[in-house]
């Protein structure tokens, strides 16, 4: 299958990326593009390197081979100051929320504004309340991160991620471990933020239903390669056995239920 890479329309362009951890190849010469203004999902089972891919895009990890361009800048060739300038235009929502636990919700959202802008406190207050209102947590401003539920923490982290009005946001497993209400709220928020703020969103997830519901384009990763890509309809109708196993959650198929091991009988009766 041809990868959908178009450097003119892509805000992120990954070219021939290879990355290993120890002897295990996480990515084996993959290329993909993330379209500007769209919601792009990177899917795959746990351990396929989805979070690693976000860290590579953010310049926190270095590839063995290949290049990653964000807004036409080669992330891994940038000087530290330039990389930090680029990151100011990227929001990232971590799976854990990654809120600073020693300051309250308000100060967490205000943190990037205080660090990167010369705005006065009254302006910062207005902006923080606007961002918290957008995620429905204006009333929780005085709570400490330890007092928030998992869903609330992720929404606060989302408010913090959009504090500097980034042009793109990366979501790391935003739906994992959420109750149905929090899940619905997050799905709605991600879609609304993308459409109303004109953002580019990258969602890394293995939650099939939610991701297929909001993504404009999907890449499915498996064993270091792109197993399939296309619109949600194209992915749903994919002829790839592997993609179908992943979407339907079958226990056996191209991906085996059992971790490679010796013969069961031999193992038991040796």
């Amino acid at each position: 299958m041809e990868n959908s890479v178009s450097p003119d329309k892509d805000i992120i362009s990954i070219q021939n990326l290879t990355f290993s951890r120890g002897h295990r190849k996480i990515f084996d010469n993959i290329s993909l593009g993330i379209r500007r203004g769209k919601v792009t999902a990177i899917m795959g089972p746990s351990g396929t390197g989805k979070t690693t891919l976000l860290k590579l895009i953010g310049g926190q990890l270095y590839p063995e081979h290949g290049q990653i361009f964000v807004r036409r800048q080669n992330v891994h060739k940038l000087k530290r100051a330039d990389l930090y300038n680029l990151r100011k235009r990227m929001g990232m929502l971590f799976q854990s929320g990654a809120l600073l636990t020693d300051i309250n919700v308000y100060d967490n959202v205000a943190l990037p504004l205080r660090e990167h802008t010369a705005l006065n406190e009254s302006m910062i207050r207005t902006l923080v309340l606007m961002k918290l209102h957008a995620v429905g947590l204006r009333g929780a401003r005085d709570l400490m991160p330890g007092e928030l539920s998992g869903g609330m923490a992720r929404r606060v982290a989302l408010a913090r991620a959009i504090a500097l009005d980034p042009t793109m946001i990366m979501y790391d497993e935003p739906f994992t471990g959420q109750d149905p209400i929090s899940l619905g709220v997050l799905v709605k928020l991600i879609k609304e933020l993308n459409d109303t703020l004109g953002l580019t969103s990258i969602i890394v997830s293995h939650d099939v239903e939610e991701t297929l519901g909001i993504a404009d384009y999907i890449y499915v990763l498996s064993e270091g390669k792109i197993a399939g890509h296309g619109t949600p309809e194209q992915i749903s109708n994919s002829g790839s056995e592997w993609v179908q196993q992943f979407l339907k959650g079958n226990a056996d198929g191209p991906v085996h239920f059992h971790y490679p091991a010796d013969d069961y009988n031999n193992d038991l009766f040796q």
Partner: protein, 260 residues
């Protein structure tokens, strides 16, 4: 045999790699300190958690150490009829050695382990990664204020330890064992030298503050981001700090008081 040399070589190489990382980390902290100075709120918060919260353990320990010195010193000195010099013995022991060393060991156990656990957990919960992705340098925002707070707090805590210890010695020596109060203080005043005793003690505590803060923060920053990794890092902070304090104390004592 080959396995033995392989393991030995690997551990030597990883030790040097860790030493290199820690030196680079220290350089980054020192560069980051300049950004803390114009933002005193970051520093005061850490001075509270590193310094003020260690106040109680330092005061109580200092008092007991002073009392023990008073007791032991009295029994030995009274054999020679020299119990009037008890104040000198208590104060010299404290300001030269026990104040800086014991306060630093307590500081490593109380504040150093807390720093390592805090930074290690921040790493494990992706708070440091999150800051980097927000284009905020965690070394400048998180590490440097804590280092500076440890560096400032340690000499003050050591001074407090010695002062309370001298009072503890007086409570036992003068209050319980009958040494003359005037002799206790006047002998101390006339014998202790500001440069030789007090300044050297302060220099020691400054060095220990620097080393303990460096070790504690590096171990947290370099910790494997799991609960076991943070636990091991915290243990390493206390053990390595103790070795560093005692080893450096010998070197500093030899340089300050010996004829080397």
């Amino acid at each position: 045999m080959i396995d033995f040399f392989q393991t030995l070589g690997h551990s030597v190489l990883s030790s040097f790699a860790k030493l290199g990382r820690s030196c680079f980390f220290l350089l980054q902290i020192l560069a980051g300190i300049l950004t803390v100075i114009p933002r005193p709120r970051l520093l005061t918060k850490q001075l509270y958690s590193v310094g003020v919260l260690s106040f109680l353990i330092i005061c109580i320990s200092g008092f007991f150490v002073g009392m023990v010195l008073g007791l032991q010193g009295f029994y030995i000195l009274s054999d020679f009829g020299a119990e009037e010099t008890l104040g000198v013995m208590v104060a010299a022991s404290l300001v030269r050695e026990l104040g800086p060393v014991v306060a630093a060991l307590l500081f490593a156990g109380r504040a150093g382990s807390a720093l390592t656990a805090e930074i290690g957990l921040m790493k494990a919960t992706e708070q440091l990664s999150g800051m980097e992705m927000m284009a905020i340098d965690p070394i400048k925002r998180i590490i440097a204020p804590r280092f500076l707070a440890g560096f400032i707090s340690m000499p003050l805590l050591a001074a407090l330890f010695s002062s309370i210890g001298v009072i503890g010695g007086q409570v036992v020596g003068v209050g319980l064992l009958g040494v003359d109060d005037g002799a206790y203080w006047s002998q101390m005043q006339s014998t202790l030298d500001f440069q030789e005793d007090i300044i050297n003690g302060v220099i020691k505590s400054i060095v220990f503050g620097f080393i303990v803060s460096w070790i504690a923060l590096f171990e947290g920053y370099d910790a494997v981001p799991t609960s076991e990794g943070v636990s091991r890092a915290t243990t390493r902070t206390v053990v390595n700090s103790a070795f560093a304090i005692l080893g450096l104390d010998f070197i500093l004592t030899a340089l300050m008081f010996g004829d080397i």
